[in-house]
């Protein structure tokens, strides 16, 4: 399809958009539109669209502006909340990592002692007395301090989890 432009297009288009076509159009422009394919297409299509626009605008039943404004306020509030929430989530993730990393490091560091400790627990399961005596004597050196460390880490984890739960409840 070859693109063909016509110098009369602009004038014809203006007349149609102003509702002056064909009654108020100059006769020479009307005769030109009857002969020029490009302008004839323009007249046919543009007049059809102008009529369609009139009927479609009349059929439109938009909701109230207040309802839209209210929805936009809700959306805006939600977006603002998400902006505030973002650093909080980051802080929670950081706290979780800060707790988990020492625990994993401790387990890795104390793994050999812990294996020995568990083995001694297995041997001492034969009698309650031997178990009690063996537990106190076979505990590896330094494991008491390690247990305290684990307890502290668990407490920190519980604290962070509590804070996270609080913020989650607040959000809901």
């Amino acid at each position: 399809m070859t693109f063909v432009s016509c110098s009369c297009e602009k004038d014809i288009r203006e007349l149609i958009e102003n509702g002056q076509w064909p009654l108020a159009a100059p006769p020479e422009l009307k005769s030109h539109a009857a002969q020029c394919r490009t302008c004839a297409d323009l007249v046919l299509v543009a007049t059809a669209f102008q009529r369609a626009r009139t009927t479609t605008l009349a059929a439109a039943k938009p909701s109230t502006a207040g309802a839209i404004w209210w929805r936009a306020q809700l959306r805006s509030r939600q977006q603002a909340f998400e902006r505030i929430q973002r650093p909080l989530i980051g802080a929670q993730v950081f706290a979780l990592v800060a707790v988990l990393v020492p625990i994993v490091a401790f387990i890795a560091f104390e793994s050999r002692n812990l294996v020995a400790w568990f083995n001694s627990l297995g041997k001492l399961s034969q009698s309650a007395q031997a178990h009690a005596g063996g537990l106190s004597s076979s505990a590896p050196p330094g494991s008491a301090g390690g247990l305290i460390f684990v307890l502290v880490a668990a407490a920190m984890f519980a604290l962070v989890a509590g804070v996270a739960l609080y913020f989650d409840a607040e959000r809901k």
């Binding site: 299509v45 479609t56 936009a72 805006s76």
Partner: protein, 196 residues
């Protein structure tokens, strides 16, 4: 101050006081006036481009909400109503494209016409009308271009802003779409003319 007090509360009338938080470019009364002037043309554009009145309702509301929440939306006072209206039509056009792309990952120009006209109440009610059946045989992009050019009276540059197409290609695309539609309309008119 608790952080949630810094947020606007639409349920307590605080929304008006914090109007600048939602739409820095518009207040409530200015929006109501703008909405009054632009809602019907926007709905007409959406319903003619999509051939689905229910979809047009949804997309129109979403367009205004996004317009109000957009930080870079043109200001009525500074940029004028034309710029604000073009921005609004641009949002609506993007929403239409998103909707069409959602069912399958393909270009909207490659999608079959049936996809856009299925369950179309508007298409059914306007089947007798002059433009309805002809528009249904056009591609969505062509419907958009033709409506913006000949119903809304937008220039090629403005259509390029709304559709995101290159301004230079609008002229050719519009010419092709117009010629195609004119041929369809002439074919429609021929039987009627022959019977008289």
């Amino acid at each position: 101050m608790p952080w949630d007090l810094a947020l606007p509360n639409p349920l307590t009338g605080e929304a008006d006081a914090n109007a600048q938080h939602t739409a820095a470019h518009m207040d409530n009364s200015a929006f109501a006036a703008f909405y009054e002037r632009s809602a019907r043309p926007l709905w007409a554009y959406l319903v003619r481009a999509s051939c689905d009145a229910a979809l047009a309702d949804d997309l129109m509301q979403e367009s205004y909400v996004r317009f109000l929440c957009a930080e870079r939306a043109p200001s009525l006072n500074d940029d004028g109503e034309v710029a604000a209206r073009l921005y609004l039509f641009r949002i609506a056009t993007n929403l239409l494209h998103d909707h069409w792309r959602r069912p399958r990952a393909a270009s909207i120009d490659e999608l079959p016409e049936e996809l856009f006209t299925a369950n179309s109440t508007t298409a059914q009610t306007e089947a007798q009308a002059e433009l309805g059946p002809a528009l249904l045989s056009m591609k969505p992009r062509e419907r958009q271009l033709l409506w913006l050019a000949h119903a809304e009276g937008y220039s090629h540059r403005e259509i390029a802003q709304v559709t995101g197409l290159a301004s230079a290609s609008i002229r050719l695309l519009l010419f092709r779409a117009r010629r195609k539609l004119a041929s369809i309309l002439r074919k429609q008119q021929q039987p009627a003319g022959g019977s008289q």
